[in-house]
Every structure is written in structure tokens, then in C-alpha cells.
């Protein structure tokens, strides 16, 4: 195994990206605040469908599985997360979350930097596993391998239609054909590296579903399938320290109800199954899960949905998390809004900094490009 320097107890992070701009106000609802009702005439959650977390906030009924984590004090809610001058562009905003560069265009992803810290010599090509077809910018650093798993793990690998005795031979040829050679050029070399890393990753990752058995039934949703894949790789002790997955699209301009509910039902039911699975396999203690979205949405609804906003909410969940509220929801008073949006009052790099410092035991400053206050949601 390449996972020589890691043990089962090394801290692991799972990032679940809520792509599209999750509506903060309908996720953590200030149900006593009259401004909530005033602004959410069309898409407000009725009182009888809100589960109270405390005297101030509630979650919509369609996020019910999160309630137990809250009651068990395993869920940290990070309020007002975002950054100054938040662009209302999904892609620019997501890029900023990924690269920690709010001003210029960044080239390195923050998690790519983490992976480089963990495995500077590139000894393990599955230090980072991303469940999905594209490579999120947060994982990109030149020379740092990322295993992107587009479909089920069982089918991960090159040329799945060639099986049997031929397979080993053909993949051997494949490896030979991808050997880097002097003078073939930068692009061909990059393809060599990518091809050979993925080939190595295949042998490693494929064992994960074979070794897996569980009594936990995951729901039938894309995000639950991704989380199940993550559980399988995590249980196989392959040295993976960073897992990435996403669910979309939270871009609820129109048809927010029932759209937002369907999205969160899938996410929270998936997480519930995932955490049960982790506990059943005694693999829960070294995992924390971060959920974030590129921005929140406009305070006032538009008649059927909500438009792009600024300040949002992030969650960190896990056995070692100190549950509770961190920071506070930005004011909803009209005079405090910025272009109709909540003004972020917690820099997103604060959230990363706590995770890096307290969980992964890394110096956050060079990874998030600066020093930020650390909300104390981890011991």
C-alpha cells in the first residue's frame, strides 16, 4: 500500500459543496424576526413546518435529519459567512471560495495546498478523492494528483469493457504508451502524469467497494451515492485525507418551493446515512464534514424564488465538532443590507482556518493567504 505514513486515525475532511447559492434564510430561519415574514411572502416557510433549534432559529422540516446532530451537539452553524464585496457571479464567487483569492484570480486551490502538505512527494495518488466528473478548482495545484470518480467506484478505471486475461496486458500497454519521454512537450507530459496517476489510483480505489459491507441503506440520490462512495474509500484505509463532493443546483431563482426542499432532503438524508455508516464501522471519529455554498440569496424573494445574494451559512458536522451557533446572522434591517443582501460578517477563510489549525494541524496562513479569526467549533 502507498499509505505508509498514514493511519486510520489521521484526521480526514469531507467537503460537500452546495452548488448554486444556497438560500441561507430558508436554511437557518430566524422565525421570530418579523422581517423574515415581510421579505419572504412567496417562499417563506410556514411556522408549522419549522423545526425549532432554539428560541431564535429553526430549520425547515425538509432538513429534519440535521436536527438530531444539533441536539447531540455535533453540528456547528457558521453564520454570515462570505467575504467583502461579494460578487453575485456564481463562478467568480465559487472561485474565491476555492482559491482564497478575493481580489486577483488565483491559480492554486486551498485543498490542493493541503494535499501537497500531506503528501509532498506524491506517494499516494488517492490522498484526494473527488466524487464527480469535473475537477473543482479547490483541489487544483500543479503536480498534485486528484482521483476524480465520475461514476460508481466499481467501474472506476480505464477501458472497463476489456476484462479477463486481456485486461492486465492491455492496461500494461496503456501505461507504457503514457510514459513521459524527452521532447514530447508540456501538454503530452501533463497527460502522461494524469493518465499514469489515474491508472495507479484505479488499482487502489477498486478494492474499496469489494471490501465494503454495511447494514446502512443509503437513499437513492446522486449525493447519497457519492457519500456512500466516500464511506467505502474511507473504510478501506487507503490514506485518503480529503474527500470532495457536491450537490446542485441550489440556484433557486424560480420554483424555490419545492425545489429547495428536494435538494435539502437529498443532502440531509444522505448525510444521515453516511454518518450512521461511519459509526457502524467505527470510522466516524476522525471525520468532519464541511458544507458551504458560494453565496446566500437575496433577502426579499422575487415572487417564486430568490436571486443571488451575499452572506451565507456554512455547516461543520462530526463527532469531534462542538455544536452550536458561531457568529451571528447579519442584520435584515433594510439599512444594513448591501444591494438587498445580507452583509457577510464572517470571512469564509475563518472557517477554513479553524479546520486547518485545529483539525488538520496545519498552519492556515499560507493555505488561506492570510490570518483570520478562528471560530472555536473544534477543540
Amino acid at each position: 500500500m502507498p499509505a505508509t505514513e498514514t493511519t486510520q486515525k489521521d484526521p480526514v475532511i469531507v467537503v460537500l459543496q452546495l452548488t448554486g447559492g444556497n438560500d441561507y434564510l430558508n436554511t437557518v430561519i430566524p422565525y421570530n424576526n418579523p422581517l423574515y415574514r415581510d421579505n419572504r411572502k412567496a417562499v417563506g416557510i410556514p411556522d408549522n413546518q419549522i423545526m425549532h433549534l432554539d428560541e431564535t432559529y429553526g430549520i425547515p422540516h425538509y432538513m429534519a435529519p440535521l436536527k438530531q446532530f444539533w441536539d447531540d451537539k455535533k453540528l456547528a452553524i457558521l453564520h454570515g459567512v462570505g467575504f467583502k464585496d461579494s460578487p453575485r457571479s456564481h463562478f467568480r464567487a465559487m472561485d474565491i471560495w476555492h482559491t482564497c483569492e478575493p481580489i486577483k484570480v488565483g491559480t492554486e486551490g486551498w485543498l490542493g495546498r493541503v494535499a501537497r502538505e500531506f503528501d509532498p512527494k506524491k506517494e499516494n495518488v488517492v490522498t484526494t478523492v473527488s466524487m464527480g466528473p469535473s475537477l473543482p478548482r479547490s483541489l487544483v495545484v500543479q503536480g498534485v494528483p486528484v482521483a476524480c470518480v465520475a461514476g460508481p467506484l466499481e467501474r472506476y478505471g480505464f477501458l472497463p469493457t476489456i476484462q479477463g486475461e486481456q485486461r492486465k496486458q492491455v492496461l500494461g500497454r496503456f501505461a507504457q504508451m503514457y510514459q513521459p519521454a524527452v521532447g514530447s512537450g508540456l501538454v503530452m507530459d501533463y497527460m502522461s502524469e494524469t493518465g499514469l496517476d489515474s491508472l495507479k489510483g484505479e488499482d487502489i480505489l477498486k478494492v474499496a467497494p469489494l471490501k465494503y459491507s454495511s447494514t446502512v441503506q443509503y437513499p437513492n440520490s446522486p449525493i447519497a451515492r457519492k457519500l456512500k462512495g466516500i464511506a467505502q474509500v474511507h473504510f478501506a484505509d487507503l490514506g485518503t485525507r480529503i474527500f470532495y463532493c457536491d450537490h446542485s443546483t441550489f440556484d433557486t431563482h424560480a420554483g424555490q418551493n419545492p425545489g429547495h426542499g428536494n435538494l435539502w432532503t437529498a443532502v440531509t438524508e444522505g448525510i444521515d446515512a453516511f454518518m450512521k455508516d461511519l459509526r457502524e464501522h467505527n470510522h466516524a471519529d476522525n471525520v468532519i464534514l464541511l458544507m458551504f455554498s458560494e453565496f446566500g440569496r437575496r433577502v426579499r424573494d422575487n415572487g417564486s424564488g430568490t436571486d443571488h445574494g451575499a452572506g451565507g451559512v456554512a455547516f461543520v458536522l462530526g463527532e469531534q465538532v462542538k455544536g452550536g451557533h458561531y457568529g451571528e446572522m447579519p442584520s435584515l434591517k433594510p439599512e444594513h443590507l448591501v444591494q438587498g443582501d445580507m452583509n457577510p460578517n464572517m470571512d469564509f477563510r475563518s472557517v477554513y482556518s479553524t479546520m486547518l489549525d485545529k483539525w488538520l494541524k496545519l498552519n492556515p496562513a499560507p493555505i488561506v493567504n492570510g490570518t483570520f479569526e478562528q471560530p472555536a467549533f473544534l477543540n
Partner: protein
């Protein structure tokens, strides 16, 4: 030998001006001649259009208002796979890369498909007219918030992208120009869209509201006056930077990979003379795309740029489906088929941002490379598909094949491809391990089919196959 060169050149033309072609078609086009083929490609109206009724019959939901993925992708994929007007469709893809507009915000595939249809109809015409058409296109207006660009409150989104991404490129205007340009487009909006539920949507329609237009004096790129949006576009197209910017896009898309667009103000073009030549004809022809592309396809710099372009996912998927055949009818499952470009990183009608896709090397990561290799290998490895059958039959007609003949034959019919010597040695070693193949008995023929399709799979798995 000369004939083989003609085949290779025609294959190059068809890969770039279209989505590749099988050997039968290449031979027919060689018989017709290179320049005549270029003319045919430049005049799509001489070829029959795609039969939209077939699409509707199999996939009625592909045209329902507010369809969700993969319905929009499915619709376009049907056109891409079936078109007899390859350059028309390829040019539509080109403009989609430039005027990148996405469902993530527009949330209305009908409107996006309508925009693609404008690219089909006008993409080979006059660039100035197309730019004006985009300025009046409700999908574009909504995508870049110009409906919120009011005489009393300027929104710069469209004004900025018009200059930065659609015409001049960064560094060729000032912030004041952005402001003045945006003022000129105040009041350019569209009829209010109706929320989807429960009655569906009305089609969007351009609307000019004089009462919301800022009719004051403006100064834009040195021109003064009560400029309106159309004046702005007339000024833009006269800028030398505009011709160079659009022609560099053409070069990057049709000829050879350039750095990413944000680097253009810093990095010089790969072939400055080629850009000069294209920009010259673009300007002299009064921004005529057909005239510009005619020069491009007939130029030496184009003819010599073989395999200098990383295939985009759309090129990978469409060229493979057209080569293997059997995917003409939009049967159930076609939507999933169409999503394959997204699995490789190019969700058609849904680019990651208004900047469009990063191309060239940036298409490749571990997941996308695997998706490319596996998609192509799965299709080319299926001898029941008519296009694969046609390749096997051409090889079979040669009789028994030695290992080297198998490799050469497959490389020829998949291109002709040019590959590195060490790559070829590996293919030859594999073929040698199998020994001579022949179709002289049923048992041998079955094995020969299998070996041939495995060799084809191995070839489409090479790095070289990712280039066009």
C-alpha cells in the same frame, strides 16, 4: 502516396470544419476536391437541414418550456450528430464558446436553443450583425442583467462583457468606456418573463424602452455624441483590436490551441502572421465570417496545423458518435448519451461562466481523461455499430493481417493518425502478442473482430487521439 496525402488533408479539414468523417465520406470528398469541399462547407444552405420532426417524435419533452437537463443537451446533440451541414453546427459551437450563455442562470433551455439557432443561421454571416443580434437577444440580456440596466441606474454587466469577452479583449478600452458603453445600452430589455409554475413560460421578446434609455451625451473610444447601443457596436467593429480578437478566437478554435483568453493581453499569438492575415480579410470583407473562414481553411497555416488542437469534449463525443454510427435516432437514453460531454467537463448550454470554457490542456484532469478514453473505447469497441463494422470490413478486405498491418490499418482508418514512435511500438508489441489475424473461418473471424476492436480501443486510449 499523393492520394494518401489528400486523404489525410481532407480528414484534417473535416475534423476541424466539422466533426470528422468516415473513410467513405472522406474518399467522396477527395474526389470532389479540397476547395470545392471548403465551398460546400461554407454554404450550408446547399445541404438539407436536420429533420426536427424526428426529434419531436422521439423526444417530445425536448422542446417543452423550461426543460431540465439533459433535455437541452439532448436537443443539440441530435443536431450535432445528424447534421449534413457540419460547418454550420461547428460555427454554432464556436459562437457558443465566445458568447457563452448558460442554463445555470437562464434556467430556460428553449431560450438557449433559440440562441444556438441564431448562431446556426447567422454565425457564418456578418459579425457586426451577429453582435447586434446578441445585444438584442433576450437570453443574453437576462444572462448579463441588461434588463436591470436603467437610465437612472446603470448596470455594467453587459457593457463590460461586450468589450472584454465579445469584441475587443481586456486592455483595449478604459473603465470610462465601460461606463459609457453601458449607458448606451440602457433601456435595451425584454418583455417580462413569467415564472414557470404553473403555466409554463412565454417566449422572451426584445423590447426597447426609450423612457428608460439615457439619451445624454457620451464619449466612447474617442467618439462623442448621443450614442445608442447600435452606435457603440458600429464603433467597436471598426477597432483594429476587434478584428484581432475575433480572429485569435477563430485561430484557437479552428487552427491550433492558444493560451486562455485572459492571457491574450500578455502572451503574443502563436502565429502572429496568421492572425494578421485573418484580421486583414475580416476587416476588408466588412466582417464577413464566410470570407474569413474561406481564407483560414485554404491557408497553409491551417493545412499544416494537424493534431495541434486538443479536442473539446463536444468534439470528442460528436466525432465518435458520427464515426461509429448507429446513434442517429434520439431513442430513450439519448439524454444520458448527450450528457457525456458534461462528464468530460463541457456541459453544453451551461458553460461555467460568461468566460466560456478553458480549452486546450485545461480540458484534461484524471476524471475527464478517464471519461474521454472510456467513452471512445466503449463505442469503438462495439463491432455491431455500423461505423465500426465499416472499419473492420475495410481491414478484412485486405485478407490476413500481420501485426504491423493491423496497427497501420487501424491508425489509418481512425485518422490517418500521426503518433509518436514509442506509442506505435507499444501498439505493435500488443499486436504481435496476438499474432496474425484472419477472417478465413467463423472462429477466426470472431477472434479477428475482437482483436481489431481491441486495437481500435487501445488507439483511442492514446494521448495522441485526444488531439485533432
Amino acid at each position: 502516396m499523393a492520394y494518401q496525402d489528400d486523404i489525410a488533408l481532407m480528414s484534417h479539414l473535416m475534423r476541424r470544419a466539422g466533426f470528422g468523417a468516415g473513410r467513405d465520406e472522406i474518399e467522396a470528398r477527395v474526389a470532389k476536391g479540397y476547395e470545392a469541399t471548403v465551398e460546400e462547407l461554407l454554404h450550408p444552405e446547399t445541404q438539407p437541414p436536420v429533420d426536427a420532426y424526428t426529434l419531436l417524435r422521439y423526444q417530445p419533452a425536448s422542446l417543452l418550456p423550461g426543460g431540465q437537463p439533459p433535455m437541452g443537451n439532448l436537443n443539440w446533440m441530435f443536431y450535432l450528430v445528424n447534421t449534413k451541414r457540419p460547418l454550420e453546427e461547428k460555427t454554432a459551437l464556436f459562437w457558443h464558446h465566445v458568447f457563452a450563455t448558460g442554463n445555470s442562470k437562464v434556467d430556460n433551455y428553449d431560450q438557449l436553443l433559440e440562441q444556438i439557432n441564431i448562431f446556426r443561421e447567422k454565425g457564418l454571416g456578418n459579425y457586426r450583425d451577429l453582435l447586434l443580434e446578441m445585444a438584442r437577444n433576450p437570453t443574453m440580456i437576462f444572462w448579463l442583467d441588461n434588463q436591470q440596466n436603467h437610465g437612472t441606474a446603470v448596470n455594467e454587466n453587459w457593457g463590460r462583457e461586450l468589450l472584454e469577452l465579445f469584441s475587443l479583449g481586456a486592455g483595449n478600452y478604459t473603465e470610462t468606456d465601460v461606463r459609457e458603453c453601458s449607458r448606451a445600452f440602457t433601456g435595451w430589455t425584454f418583455e417580462t418573463k413569467i415564472p414557470r409554475a404553473p403555466y409554463g413560460r412565454f417566449p422572451w421578446k426584445f423590447e426597447y424602452r426609450p423612457e428608460d434609455h439615457d439619451d445624454g451625451e457620451k464619449t466612447f473610444l474617442g467618439h462623442k455624441g448621443k450614442l445608442n447601443g447600435e452606435d457603440i457596436i458600429n464603433i467597436i467593429v471598426q477597432q483594429p483590436a476587434c478584428a484581432r480578437f475575433i480572429c485569435r478566437h477563430l485561430y484557437n478554435f479552428f487552427v491550433a490551441d492558444e493560451p486562455q483568453v485572459p492571457a491574450w493581453p500578455i502572451d503574443p499569438p502563436r502565429d502572429p502572421k496568421a492572425i494578421d492575415a485573418l484580421a486583414g480579410v475580416f476587416k476588408d470583407s466588412n466582417f464577413d465570417m464566410t470570407a474569413t473562414l474561406r481564407v483560414l481553411f485554404n491557408s497553409d497555416f491551417f493545412k499544416n496545423a494537424r493534431f495541434q488542437h486538443m479536442k473539446s469534449p463536444a468534439e470528442v463525443v460528436v466525432s465518435t458518435l458520427r464515426l461509429v454510427g448507429g446513434h442517429e435516432l434520439p431513442r430513450p437514453g439519448y439524454g444520458e448519451l448527450a450528457m457525456n460531454t458534461a462528464y468530460m467537463g463541457q456541459d453544453l448550454l451551461n458553460p461555467p461562466s460568461v468566460e466560456g470554457w478553458h480549452t486546450g490542456k485545461e480540458w484534461i484532469n484524471s476524471g475527464s481523461l478517464m471519461a474521454r478514453v472510456n467513452f471512445c473505447a466503449e463505442k469503438i469497441g462495439d463491432p455491431s455499430l455500423p461505423g465500426v463494422r465499416a472499419i473492420i470490413n475495410r481491414l478484412k478486405a485486405k485478407g490476413n493481417l500481420s501485426p504491423d498491418q493491423l496497427v497501420d490499418g487501424c491508425l489509418d482508418l481512425l485518422g490517418p493518425m500521426v503518433i509518436r514512435d514509442d506509442t506505435k511500438q507499444e501498439l505493435a508489441a500488443q499486436a504481435k502478442a496476438w499474432g496474425q489475424i484472419s477472417w478465413d473461418s467463423d472462429t477466426n473471424a470472431q477472434l479477428a473482430d475482437q482483436r481489431t476492436s481491441q486495437m481500435l480501443q487501445l488507439i483511442v486510449a492514446t494521448r495522441e487521439y485526444q488531439f485533432a
